[in-house]
Amino acid sequence: MDLELTEREFMYPGHVGCPGCGAAIAMRFVLKALGEKMMMVLPACCWSVIAGPYPSTTLKIPVIHSAFETGGAVASGVRAALDMKGDTDTTVVTWAGDGGTFDIGFQALSGAVERNEDFIYVCYDNEAYMNTGIQRSSSTPYGAWTTTTPGKDWKKMRKKNIVEALAAHRIPYAATASISHPEDLVRKVKRAQAVKGSRFLHIFASCPTGWKIPSEMAVKIARMAVQTNIFPLYEVEEGLHYTINYKPKRFPVREYFKIQGRFQHLKDEDLDVIQKMVDEDWELLLRKAGEHA
């Protein structure tokens, strides 16, 4: 694969991400795509831990650790401070997990993008509060086991569609991406960097520990999420113009669920329900993109 990425690494090894950590892969791609002219705001998430215990860091770029709910607000402040200094070419990036984006940080995020603050907000989505012990979030998919949706009380609510929520704010650029599709991911990061105003990237980042999958399957499973239309790759400009970047052959969702420990309790009829949901979401996305099934 030739991604035209710099040979330079912006991360040190020795970080404490779990073996096969999808969030670490996501960070590595995004940093390489953005380059060193950037500052990162890091609200509480797995990466607050992965980035290293004080006084060590695994990131070679300036990072501000912030409180859980403040990703949008702190980034707005950093941007304003840089503007005051006359520094307009440093990219400000918020790097938040799904908890800090879908749930706890949603207010600050919504506020910041409504003001069209000039920064990139990246949500790396591992579909639960992973480093605190796998508690469900509003990003946890229908059907999943977590420590707060255990046994037969597995999650019965759908995953929140965060890109649609952001698109509803009519921000200049919102997109999904996956660690399994580096070309697409890198292109979207570079594209986001070139746009002014609020930009949102939703990156699918598998979690071997929380999903109960073998670490070596982390990328393969992320790829299957795209191939089955569970996590479609698309981008939205100005909240209006949809482009679907990858049209899979629509593999049945069953295979994706069968190989993950967090879904082991699901019966065939549950999977049929999920297949319907996925099909419905895909049809909806096609309609928004002006296409038909």
Binding site: M1, G14, C21, G22, Y54, P55, S56, P182, E216, M217
Partner: protein, 586 residues
Amino acid sequence: MAEKAQARAESESPIHIMPRSTLSTEANKTGSWRYLRPRYEEKTAPCSAACPAGEDIGKIEMLTAQGLFKEAWETILRENPLPGICGRVCFHPCEGACNRGEFDDPIAIHSLERFLADTAERYDLKPLLERLPGRPEKVAIAGAGPAGLAAAWFLTQLGYACDVFEASPEAGGILRWGIPLYRLPLAALQREIAQVEAQGVRIHTGRPVTPDFLNDLETSYHAVYLACGHGRTTALRVSGEESDGVGDGLKFLEKVRNGETPDVKGVSAVIGGGNTAVDVARSIVRLGGEALILYRRRRQDMPAFGDEVQMALDEGVKLQELVAPERIGKDGSRTLVTLRHMRIAGEEGGRGRIEPDGDRTSRIVVDRLFKATGAEAAEGWHNPPASKEALALSHCVLSLRNGRPALAWGGDLANGIKSVAHAIASGKQAAIALDTLFREGPDSILPRLESCTVGNGPSLSMEIHMGGERRLRNRHVVAYGEINTDYFRYAPRMTQPRLVRQERARSFAEIDLRVSGNIAMREAERCFNCGLCNQCDNCHLFCPDMSVIHDQSAQGRHIDYDYCKGCGLCVVECPRNAMTLEEEIR
């Protein structure tokens, strides 16, 4: 001291209300977490194990896809001196074993092989091959067919002086006299024979090896390799087969290849189902006659290549299945053939088992009849001895007699399957066996051959014998399930451009046309390169721990075990199974 004091003053200063990390996480050697260990380990592609000559096909296609045509061609030559010939006439068992066949269609390996040979011809390339220092022993070879040429080529690479003695006025054996020009043009054959000679092999034509001459050879050579081939058509063992209307298929082909135009007016029957039968029938059509193949089994049981049979039928050759000649007689000046009808009574060895269909017979009248049911050694003494003292290998028989030169039988004389590729396999096996005999003695021959197999054998690699990089590969033959097909797109197999039926049915011009470099590279790109690293860099790309480090080595990268946590992503994301994950032993 002053610096320390200043540092303390700064850290106590009220401006620094935010704690700042100043160290990296590199002190944390996460490699200690690892209980599985990835490593680079190339494996064996199924095509290369299926190739009787053990060609390194995965690597050949990788180099071809990169446009490194000379290197690709040289990679063939390390294992097979006759790519231009095999690319045309080999039955390509490699393609049947190709993992891509389970994905969409197998790679057109034979077309690419021929493309590389054509390219070498076009640019008059000279191969740059490893060659071992000269050895004192000399080897004589009887027969300049594919087995003899291969043995001479490999022995020369191993440092031995070789003389090849050929009975007929030109080298090539079956390639020169038994394969029609429309399948193998003379120039392609001559070029590769010249290339063998350019390595230093001396070919003496018009020198048949007789028992007396063999005795002479034994006084001046350290070993003799007998590869005189199967040049005599086997008898039908039916009454009337000696009559003047009955011809010998191989002799007929030889006449045609000698430039003669035998009279084939009217209808000629050809008995047999192998490539010789099909070649005879198609030659008859080209000379203006009509040809009827009579075969005792069914079309799908014919040993001839399916493609050739199809083209023969397209050209107007007729095929009558399930008939065997019982009696040959005369009907005026024409030939009367009584046919016994057969029927299928089960399966044996993948083809139909036949038995007479009651008493059913029929009679046909043809203008002449050709026997093409198989061939045998021209002289009884050509055949290898069945005695226990002889060492019977998969492709040759060795006789190691105390105090006398070693004698080896190869090619069709020793091969179960009589094909050009198997003849080359025989020449290679004899070369490795004799080299080992001379260097280390007879007891080392079998272990040496065992250590040179490609996959589980019986194919052998000269590159492994000569200590090349191929010896580092794991013998494990990569299965389709071990390929990460997410990295491959469906792509149709190239179509071999051919003369159209009207053009080919009246001429001996080569049917398969050349392909362009563009088509060849696209076809080679389809190859999974099973078990081989093609520097795709996925291992580096997906590593969550920055533990795949680029370097200047041949591998281009190494794993930093100080930090590698052993997640195994690199191994699974390797599209072609060129990495291995194994238990960490501390």
